[in-house]
Amino acid sequence: MTSASRTTEGSSIAHARWGSSVPWASRLQPQNLLWLLLAAILVVLILAPMSTLVIASFTDAQTGNWTLSNYAEAYGRARHVTALTNTLKMGAAVVALKLLFGVPLAWACTRTDMPGKNLVRYGVFGAFIMPPYLGGVGWILLAGPNTGWINRAWFWLTGATEPLVNVFTFWGLVLVTAIGGFFLVFVFVSSAFEMINSEMEDAANILGAGPVKTALKITFPLVLPAILGSALLSFLGAIALYGVPALIAIPARFPVVVIQLSEFFSFPLRVEVAAAYSVPLLLITVGLLGLQRLILRRKGYTSLTGKGGERRLVKLGRWRWAMFAYCFAVVALAVLLPFVVLLLAAFNRSWTAGFSIDNFTLRNFHYALFEHSSSQHALVASVGIGIAAATLAILLALCIAYIVQRRVLPFGQVLAFLAVSPYVIPGIVLAIGFYAAYALPPLALYGTYTILVLAVATRFLPIAFTTAVAGMRSIHPEMEDAVRILGGGRLSVIRSVVGPLLKRTLAGGWLLIFVLAAQELSTAIFLVGPNTRVVSVVLLDLSEEGRMEVLAALGTLLLLMIVAVVAIGVRYLGRDFMLRRS
């Protein structure tokens, strides 16, 4: 029955007829295809590499048959198993150190009257902007056992011959890994502290709990979810890092998973074995995620979502400056010291020479910018990939968050799960998955910028997605209904209301991703081609050639470019319309 006859016949309520339909043309929403396309992109981006990885791990490279031999090869040697246990040990130690750095700083900056809070905040952000491998090089210059600045000062001061500190050790590896990532802990825990209402603490005080008891029984349990969440992320970040282990774990002779993976990637190329070696890593992270959920669910922390009421700062009294000293020490370890020695090296003929006018030179910068065959290109590529990947991740995340939050498609929760799942995939494993899925024919994306941007965007999609979901939650659905009933489609909704309202939130997320993407090494190391080298890879090569001065100069240039983009972003955010509301 056609709709035409339906409307003419059905002229009275009593004569209802079933089986009639609204004309197809007027039902059509072209955007629906777009939603499906987006969902498909997501599935392809995440499921394809991961399933290729898992399938490859069970596939015989020669015959293509099903096999377990890859696992036997991957875990058949004691050394390979040691690398895994070492990685877990290192991950645990790094998490402990990051918490030791991040949590007190977060508390001091949000809940106390410590002086110099902004200084500390800038410092922590500086530690975030500094790529981990650059921090690692800084610490090699600081704490090399014989020539490190700290040890030379120690020899000079005490006449000792044994070094005071040695970066090429387990703890050196842990320290250098931790300083690069505690920013995340700081941000997570800070925002949790900001959520806590002073009244919750007052309630405990009234009932007779002293300040220490209140802190232990009330305040810290309330931020526990944030601590656990950031601990998990820290762990994943630590075990997936490639640059720092390459610089430090090899001389420290402390084999870790990423080094072992690169062995499987060297001759003879054993992608399948690398895949098999990665799968337990995936299982461990999924297990940790489950554990985190279990802990949080049992205690029912879900109430910590409301707005913080009035917050009073804890008066530290004479401990104010002690707290500041601790914070400053952390910032010094994380960014000030390594950055200063890097600068010294960058402007010096030889990094071991003292800093005097005679040794001052701009040659390293000139070489890095104009003579080195790939670094100029790499600087542009790094920043370009950062911009492209951050934009792609944010746009994709916004649309997915919209689909999920507004239930545009069925199975939205599956999409949400997919979007956050790169969270549990170590970057290096993701890179191997991408390599296996896209580098080879038929897609043959090896050596293209496309594969780099896709991989990096996928890697940081969870950050983008969490940002976008939080933003979407803050928008009343009726804001969108209002657009639609006035004649705007869903795209119109996103363009004219959701997008502009989330501008600030999204721009914040964009900046975070940009910084991470422009520095990204773990993913890039297996995916760059000769013409798509990024700064991180060039820096790693320079470190292997021992060209510390040029490395420092090029690293400084990368930092400058990142800071420039961040500064533009912050300026833009600062001039946003939202400011007019206050």
């Binding site: 050394r79 090899i250 580098a439 090896y446 050596g447 081609g529 090569d541 292997e544 050639e545």
Partner: protein, 347 residues
Amino acid sequence: MIGRLTLAAFISAAFISHTSAETNYTPNEQALYEAAKSEGSVTWYVSQYNTENADTICSLFSERYPGVACNPVRSTGQVAFQRIQQELQAGALQADVFSTNEDSQVLQLKGAGQLLKYVPENLQHVVPRIREMGDPDGYWVASGVSPVVILYNTKLVPEEEAPRNWTDLYDPKWKSQVAIGHPSFSGAVGVWATAINDLYGWEFFEKLEQNQPHISRSILDAQNLVGTGERKISIASLSVALQDMHLSGAPTAMVAPTDGMVMPVSVTSVLDAAQRPNAGKLLQEFLLSVEVSEYLASIYRYPLRPEVEVPKGSISLDEPNLIFIPAQEALDKSMEIQGNFRDTFGI
């Protein structure tokens, strides 16, 4: 300012005098050049030189052959080889020419039929001792030699205390003062490890391990640690050591070990699946030219052409205790050596 200009003028004059003398290409060279021009560029995976030297050779190449860009991609031998493997697997070979310090790698590629057979015209003019290190079947040429020697820091180690032979490296007096490279990253280190294993058996490395050597990735980094004073002694590539001493003023000196100097051969080949085979062949020709040999001598590397004088401080290639490891032997032992190394040093 004036000083710099004069120097620049001198250098360019020195090079121009040669290039102008040679600008008349041979017919074969002319044909390759024409074909290379239409290919536009050549991508050179190179572990034989450091980035700076590779960059210079590339710019010399493009000066002589305008219209053919040269993109050097410098990494350690194993990394370059791994990339080529990856690219072949991906069916997207980027490299046209491959120069490595480990001839077992090209032997491997030859066995898999992945090399292009090409006997460069310039090969006949190369020093015979070096020429015969190439592939008799014409799949690769020897493009450089540099013995592996012992390097020490002259500020930290008096000459009389410097090690004399390889076994001195595990003398307990050098505990925590030795630097070596990693055979899974560096081809030269791989050849060195194979030769040492032949000489003394694997025990050598077990004893060396007792001395807690610093494990770098490349041999360059290892000797750089001696230059900065981070370590007192290291294994080193002779040419690079000379280069550092003379051009950068590194406070180092080297010792030719009495028990034998390992001689890794650097080789260059054009890949069969190269996207720009003619430009590749042209680069291979160029590497064997007098012009490059002059540049090599200026950076204290062995020239390949007899017309150019060997730099001072180099060891004669006719020295009796030079150790060559045939490519086939290196290939056969490569996996075992790397595995043993990882097992012994735990990394």
